[in-house]
Structures are given as C-alpha cells and as structure tokens.
Symmetry: C2
C-alpha cells in the first residue's frame, strides 16, 4: 500500500498545451517534458500551423528544443481556417505527426485572426475528420461583440456546437478548457464521441480571484474565469467524478510578464511549471486524489485511441512556494499562483 505522503500514477499527458516557438519554446518545453509523456501542441503561431508541412516543421523545432532523455512526444494539431480542405486533413493524418485539428472561431483568443469565420466553411474538412476518426478540438466561445464575455461559452454551445454535433453526429470532439456548468452538462448529455478538457486554473480559481482586491492579469485567460457557483463547482465535480469524458488539458499559455502587466494584458496562464501539482491540489481539495490518475493519465489517451504511458511519476506531499517568475526568452513569465503555497510536489519520473 502506498504511504499517504506520496502519490504514484501513470505518467500523465497534457491534452492542451501552448509552447510558442523560438527562444520562448526553449524556455518552457522542458517544464512539460519533465512531467508529461505527450502533449497536444496548440497550432496558434503566427502564421498558424495549418498544413502538414508546417506541422512537421514545428514538430522538428520542438524536438530540437527538448532537453535530453525526457521521453516526451509532441502531438501536433492542424489549425483549421476557412480554406482547410479534406485533402489537407488526409495528408496531415497520413504524415503521422498530426493527431487532431482545431477550431478557433476568428478572434476568440491569442493569434486566432486566421480562425474560422463560419463553421459551415469547414464542413467538408469536418466530414473527412469524422470519416477518419480524427478529433476536432474546439475553442468554444462566440466572438460577437454584443455577447457578454461571461456568456460566450454557453452561447457557443447553443448556436454552434450543438448544430455541429447534429450535422456530424459521429465526429469526435474535444470541447477544450470548459469553464461553465452549461458545458459540463452539455458534455454529459452528448455521446461518447464528445469529451472535454479542464485546466488547473479553472479548477483552482474563479473570477473573484481575478477581480477582488485588485485586478490580477496573471489570472486572465480565455475562456475567462467564471463564478464559483455554479461553474467552478461544476468543473471540480466533473474532473473528480471518474467520468472518462473529462480529462487533463492545462492550456498552459505563457506570455511575457510585461505583456500581462500592461494597459491591455494578454490572455493566458503558465501552469506547465507545476501542472500535475496544481491538479493534485485541486483533487485533494475534493478529497478525490484517487481519481487523479484516470483524469490525468488514462481517459485522454483512451479518447484519442493511444496507448497509456508506460512510465510512472511520483508526487510527494510537501509544502512549497510557486516561484515568482521563470526566464522566458529574453524576459520573464509569471506562473499561475506565483508566490502561493502548494501542498504536493513532483518528485520523480520512473
């Protein structure tokens, strides 16, 4: 029997990760590679990673930036544009590096200007993906300026996602970084081909953390943090339920400190530096550490039809303070919960 002050689980994966490129990539990729076996690499570079050749080039850049002997594998994603063709989907999948394609509604988040202006434009590509069993990853927010920012996920479900599922009932969909009770309920009521990722920051924080006592740009992400009740509570329940429709996806998204602490701060939170510790903290708060391994290491691989990792990792029950910043290219990045105490620490990968 495991002693209570350690936690040993199958090595987790990260089913939603931003690692940027160039010197920024070199600064952060080791964080994820230390803990995770694989990660779904988001394609929102400038220009976006929108075909197989770009994906291969980005893959190679990541491999070159990796520290030695991590055993880490990046899983590449195509960025869907209004012009993505079924042939591009097929070619990308044939190349073996790309495992999914991502729908960004145009303007929804960082570098999404090339995103899809009307989901009907990509129906031929989506039909091909359905046929091939290739998951569609969705940033689930409308971008209509008139819609309140806290309503944008719920409106997306109603106006777009529910129609896509009606029209393409067998398409595998990962509803990414869900933030609302409406999203939890929607995933629960959909078929087994619809799953969702949940970030550590949406489990550990709500909009009061971002706005009470001062406006805190390091808590600003998209979709934006919602209310504690019912939304944060619904996410905690879903993540710790043991339901395989909900799995890990950090959406770790580093920005330079100076791009966050400004008159118009960027959206995105770095959590890769201690991703599994953050999730362990959240699961422990729900007295559900026994559910962490399924969420972090099993359900996502099963959804993608990939094998479980063969390594394990061990966490130790130990108070420690999240660093105030990390080097990030020629500047610094402030991580989520900088300066706060966590009670689990990543110890070793075996």
């Amino acid at each position: 029997m495991q002693p209570k002050d350690t936690l040993k689980i199958i090595r987790p994966d990260d089913w939603h990760l931003h690692v940027r490129s160039g010197e920024m990539l070199k600064s952060v990729i080791g964080m994820t590679a230390a803990q995770m076996g694989r990660a779904i690499i988001m394609p929102n570079l400038t220009p976006p990673v929108s075909n197989a050749a770009q994906a291969k080039q980005y893959y190679q850049e990541i491999m070159n930036a990796l520290p030695a002997d991590t055993g880490f594998t990046p899983l590449m994603v195509l960025y869907l544009t209004d012009n993505t063709t079924p042939k591009q989907i097929q070619t990308a999948l044939d190349g073996k590096l790309v495992v999914a394609a991502k729908l960004y509604p145009a303007g929804a988040t960082t570098n999404s200007d090339d995103g899809v202006t009307d989901v009907k434009n990509i129906y031929p590509a989506l039909e091909k993906m359905q046929q091939l069993g290739m998951p569609l990853l969705v940033h689930g927010e409308v971008t209509d300026a008139k819609i309140d920012i806290f309503d944008r996920e719920a409106v997306f479900i109603e106006q777009i996602l529910s129609k896509v599922i009606e029209d393409l009932p067998d398409l595998k969909i990962v509803f990414e970084h869900i933030t609302t009770k409406e999203a939890v309920d929607f995933v629960l009521s959909s078929g087994d081909n619809v799953a969702a990722t949940i970030t550590p920051h949406h489990l550990l924080a709500n909009r009061n953390d971002m706005l009470v006592g001062g406006i805190k740009p390091h808590y600003f992400c998209l979709p934006i943090l919602k209310r504690e009740n019912p939304h944060q509570r619904a996410l905690l329940s879903a993540a710790t339920s043991g339901n395989p429709k909900f799995f890990i996806g950090t959406d770790s998204a580093p920005h330079a400190k100076s791009d966050k602490e400004s008159s118009c701060g960027c959206a995105g939170v770095l959590s890769a530096n201690c991703a599994i510790e953050l999730y362990a903290t959240a699961f422990e708060s729900e007295d559900a550490l026994d559910k962490l391994e399924g969420f972090a290491s099993i359900f996502g691989a099963d959804f993608y039809g990939l094998p479980h990792n063969t390594e394990t990792i061990t966490l130790k029950k130990q108070d420690w303070i999240v660093p105030n910043s990390y080097p990030f290219a020629d500047t610094v990045v402030v991580p989520f919960m900088a300066g706060k105490m966590l009670s689990w620490k990543f110890l070793v990968k075996d």
Copy 2:
C-alpha cells in the same frame, strides 16, 4: 436659441470625488475646479478623515492646492468608523465644512480598512444624521469573500441598505456610484430621501470593455463594471430620465499608472480631466443632451439643500482625443478612455 454645436448649462457639481492628498492632490484638483462649482470630497485618506478637525485640515490643504480664481468649493465628508459618535456628527456639521458622512463597509475599496464592520455599530450616529438632515453616503457593496464580485451591490441592497432604510426611514441617503438595475429599481422604489449618483465610466462602459481583447486595468473600478444588459442600459435610462433622484458623481479616483498596470492593479478611474465631456458623450448617445443640466447641475444641489451655482459652462461639439496620461505627483496617471475620441469639449466657464 442655442446653436446645436454648443451646449451651455449651469456650472455642474461633482457629488463624488477623490482628490488624494499632497503632491497627488496638487496634480488633479485643478481638473475638477476648472469645470465643477463644488465637489463632495471623499474621506478615504490614510488615516481616514473621521472627525471635524481632520476635515478642516483636509479642506485647508485642498484650498491651498487650488489654482487661483476657480470659484470652486470643496464639500467635506466624514468617514464613518465603528466608533463614530453622535457628538462627532454634530460637531462636524457645526463646523460648516462637512456636509455628509460616508459608510464604507470595511474592506470594500481603496483605504477602507477602517470602515464599518457592522452597520448596527453606527446606528447612534445615523440617528443623529437623520435628525439633522445630514446625508449618508454609501459605498453599496458587501465584502463577504464568498459573494461573487458582480453580486455584491445587489446583496448589499438586500442585506444592509434595505434594513437601514427600514430602521431609519427619514435618513437622507445617497447610494453612490450605482452599477446595477437592482440599484436603479431600489432607488426608484424608495422615498424622496433616497437618491443615487452615477459615474461616467459606468454610463460609457461595461465589463466587456474591461475584459474583451485583453484585461484592461484602466477600466477597473469599484463597484466593478457590470453587463451591458440589463445594467449599463438601466443606468443610462436612469441618468437621462430627468428623475431628480439620479445625479452626477464621477468617483474620479486617480492612481499612478504603475499601480494600475501591475500584478494586482488598484481600483479607480480618473475622469475629472474631462468629466462633463464624458457625461455629455453618454447623454448624446441616448439623444438626451437636454437632460444633462438637471443631472449635472441641479438635482444634486437640490438633494443636499444647497443653492444652484450661478456660473454657467459651455461645451463645444468638437472631436478630440483624451490624452494618454497626465502628470501625477512624481509619476503619471492614465485617464479613463485615454487615446479615445470624444465629441464634446469643455470650452469656457462664464
């Protein structure tokens, strides 16, 4: 008949203003004094202005900092603490400089740590104010950590303000910087002894302006910006309705740029630099410029039982860009709507 490209109104007052102290005071007091005849000066200094002697000292500091020949009069306010006595209320009013007293729930906003922990603690003071006809100014938010920040005004009405009014039915109350439809409805349903101020930023912006496309600390204020529907719309309707229960109160609250653009930005927006232009822009958007004079120059004075100003001011229809910053002690302050275009410009005071 007035030409359509100018607007001449009785000189307005500002029934809610923060001017700070020392060098900061010197940086901003001239902005208000150029436009406004009088202003209710908020007492949340460190330490707070909580007795007649402190009010007199602060008044003198303001008078010394004023540019020459503005004809501006500061109206002083007592900061209520758990220990404020009826005698202190009487003494303050006898000193002629203090016209009102302010209830800050402890912890509600900038420098409110000495605020009232339980409104029952100040009932003797409030009874004296009711007897003397001295208005109570209220920051209407609860501070319970469990209450969502966007609910705090509505919960304050329900838990505190409605009970104060029940217990002290003739107390004059200014519900300051209201931000919700609930507050508008509450003021409308209360007696003539209950009025409200509305800021220019709550008329011109909603929480999407603060959070869509980036997190914008220069839109961060307390009470926090709410949704466009129904809240911003309700404020615009109330302000432009011609109902004398609603009047001007900028809550102009300067902070150094570096205290806003940080990991934990201060609450408060500078609008004194172009207060009347901002209100004119909001009223014009509702096609209600004919209602501006009542809101800005008449209803507040009537509520306080003070004479109307005898001067007039003239605004000119003219596009101009709000400056990016103003000097502020040894640093700078970024005003509300910095870099944006307004279509009315303050021209002259006669």
